[in-house]
Amino acid sequence: MTHDEIQDRLEAYVDDRLTREERRAMDAHLEQCDECRQILDEVAPVDISGLGPARFDSAAMKRAVRRSMFRTAVNTALLLLAAWIVVFFLSVLLIQPLAVNRGDRAADAVRMSMDLTEMLNPGLVLTDGRIESGLLSREVSLDYALPVGAGLRPTPGTSMTIGLFGISELSTADPRFPVVDEWGVQSEARDRLEHLGDGTVATVVLRYESPLTIEAAQQTADDPGADVRVIWAGFDASLGRELGPTWTAAGSLGHGTCSPGEPLPDDMLGATSAGFGGVNLFSRASVDRALDSVIAALENIDSRPELVSYVVRPFDDDPGDVELILDELRTHPLVNALVVTGPTPSVTEFVTTATDSGATAEVMAVDLYNWTDGLCGR
């Protein structure tokens, strides 16, 4: 490209109308040519390429005015959109901390969640805690571990989501029992049973029809002639299953489901949901009552840690699980007792199936539900 050709293209250069090759050639020339750069400085601010004879074009004027109005409207709309985005983010950033932390309810609920986990797991160690903030919520996650031997064994953690619209989720993946952990396949379950001690011959008589307390079972177990193994069938998950597939410890402890329109308990901590829907209302009194009972039961068992050897939890909607449990227990010579908790439909079915099948293990049901009777409508 010659010096003159370069100067002819300066207008196009300023307006980005050149192809890549032309632009490269222009760049290379302008880098060295002071005169061209000077001309560029002069022509750039004033666009003369389209100048023609002076004229007044009324049609063009109208078009320009219309275009200008259109641009103004678009710009106004964009401005409003931008303002809305700013207000939204500011609302989230400013309101969320105020709303989420309003009063002490959220803090109480988190504390209660931690209390539940810690109180039901003597020796539990909090190993990690995180609060993750989202746009509309904060998630509190707590990881626990249990001292086992010389080290710590992680247990399923607790997490809670607190948002603008309340405490939307509380999930506690059964951190209560030391024996509930990562065993994942049936063979592992069998291994655990294999590790039961030899010579387990005693029988604990636990009857569902006339519910006994854990203490009563313990008295039987305390018979010096008995080498007792209690197979803890665990808390039933039916509440969680009714609401969704997620089982929540809190969902089966001290929950109260008030009917629509009923006044809420004064000491209600908040609402939690389990799984994909449903809401449980928690009151401090109901949780305290639940905790007292469960702790009393667990303390008895804790005094004989060898009693709790194996934990299973049936899915309430799968009768096949019941059969599997019974098969497992029936075929193992060392297993001779079974504790089932919760007079829920699934447990009832479990007990019925166990009785009908002539299982040698007898079954006790401890009512860990219905602490909240009378709470609603107070």
Binding site: R17, R37, L40, P45, G50, G184, V185, T248
Partner: protein, 227 residues
Amino acid sequence: MSTYTRIKTSRRLVWAGIIVGYALAAGVAVANLGSEHGTVVTALAFLVALSLPPSLALVSLDRRPALLTMASMAALVQGALLLTSVIGLLGLVPAILWYLASQRRARPAAAPRQASWMRPGLAAATVLPLLVMFLHVDPLCVVTDSEGTVVRSYVEEGAPSGWNLGLGSYSTGSSESVTGGATSCTSNRIVPWEAAVSVSLSALYLVLVIKLWPTADRLPVVSDRRV
């Protein structure tokens, strides 16, 4: 500052933004690939979707100067979408660089008449490839039982599915059963068809912009558009 220096500075800013934009897209893709549920397909979808703003800036260098404003808007919109994480702030860097570059032009960029509404519209459309990966809830449930670990669909597990305009996700805890089973569902996963649609949308978007957005040498000169 001479006109020549302004033009060179503007170009350097554009290139800096392009490099940051592509680096951000690559970083997110690599992070996704390394995540628990990341796959090559999902990483590719993120890479392509987040590469749209720098690609627009790149295209703007070829006689489409007005596209740079659109690239800046697109980066802004995508950055806002990603603002829930710190990495979203990085997305704003190219947006600022390209805005500064457009302000340092020697003359207003030649743009088609429809640019005033096309630019924000098309910039906003760059989030579609991202949204399509999240607005459709396809939870997957991992079920571990005596036969090992299997992945089951949401239908089998009774989880909700379909379109979710709340941009939310959910996950469930695990439940152990007598069989040693554990179930865990999450909607955070991007299933292959979502990733494939996202990549297709991104590619279609870029092709349409390149084909339909006129180059400056086909537009009337700036002075013609002024009265």
